[in-house]
Amino acid sequence: MLSQIFPNKNFIYGILGLTSFFIFWQIIGHFQLAGLSLPSLTDVLNFLFDPERHALFIRAIGATFQSAVMGFLAGALVGIFLASSVQILPILKNGSDRFAAVINSVPSIALGPIFLILIDREATPAGVASIHVFFIVYVSMSSGLSSASREHEDLFTIFGASRIKQFWSLNLPYSAPAIVSGLRLSWPAALIGAIIGEWFGAARGIGILIINAMQNFQINLLWSAVLLAAMMSLLFFGLMTFFERLTYQRFR
């Protein structure tokens, strides 16, 4: 019974570690050991949960969440599509690997202005987010697709299955866990992309809060925005981790 509440020693250590991290933060902030830029945790939380600012924060979360989700979906679709295509047409594989690596290496601050011209201002955050997601999903899916065992592939070849048939019945199911892991890992990247994309003239969002707070020295607002971003990241990350476990149980 007790072991169900406290799964193991590491769990307790973990709680201890997190608690001491927060206490440490609180002490530094309270006595202003790091200057005015590091307020105490309670100050930030008070600011964050002040009912007066609820509307502001909810608008910002909504905008960033929408951009991140749109970018996430678009990037994941393109990544899955490209990885599948080159699995079926292997002659294109080397080139598309290089293509993905180059696209991923374009600095995200340079993507902003390009997307501003390519699509409209409001869609720019989603565009930048989609690039980050695309790369992670593409890489993890291609490694998943190639993880099918040699013997299985030989079997399909012997029975004269077409490459497309082999893809649907062998490689794709094999790659399911890798795709889900890729999706999980790409969510924080989607959020970062959306935040950077918002710097290029979006109307609202967490990125706008961060930039405004930085330029106007509103330290509590800055920390609140960071906490919001962290929470959005963690919540979805947790959800995807759960989903990932399910997939691993089913496909492995």
Partner: protein, 254 residues
Amino acid sequence: MENKIHKNRIISFINLNWGIILILILWEFWVVVNDFNPIVMPSPEGVLLDLIQNPIIYIENSAVTFSIAVVGLFGGMLIGTTLAIMTWFSPLLSGLINPTAVLLSSVPVVSLIPIIARILGYNMATEIILVVIITFFPSFVFTTAGLRALPPGSQDLFTSLGASRISTLKKLALPAAFPNLAIALRLAAAHAILAAMIAEFLMGTNGLGYLFAVTKQEFLTERAFGTSVIATVISVIAFLASSHFENNVKKRFT
């Protein structure tokens, strides 16, 4: 005969680079069809011309960004690996640090840049520290995992032969963790350049990110694009070099 070799070379070049060629063609096509003013959207040859005509500006700023990225990368890898080894020695420390590290690693690091800049000041040291923070997580996470993924039975062998904890670390755990460390390096290397560039963009006094911010404000769009092209090339090279290194390490250690 010679002609055929030549032909094969061209084919393998296209095979490897069709994606990039496609981007360049689409870019050129898009600029020509829309008849963009170079201030809005320069053409590939305009950017190339600016790159060729002003090599000094590009080289100087690349050198700054590159050194920030390299120093930060090694700092981050060193701290991450050291901390991972410390947690390997002490289960208590590992329990204390791990969940906090996971929590922090899910924070979008970009949103921390303004805060760290406020605390440490707007200067080069802060930019290096930012790269350290960003590259720290992969090395910590992967080294921690690698130190524990030992070949089956090897730990028993070391224990039964009475090896000390330190010699187990040196002769067993560290070599076992090396391939993972190489993966961390690959993930962090390309990231380090881009992180340095974002830091310079937000608070810099020089470097590629700063050059990009300034030229964009002054509508020197060709130079802004040139800056991006250079940054892309550097980070692709970093990525390819570290992938190459990782493959060699994999062959040597597994």
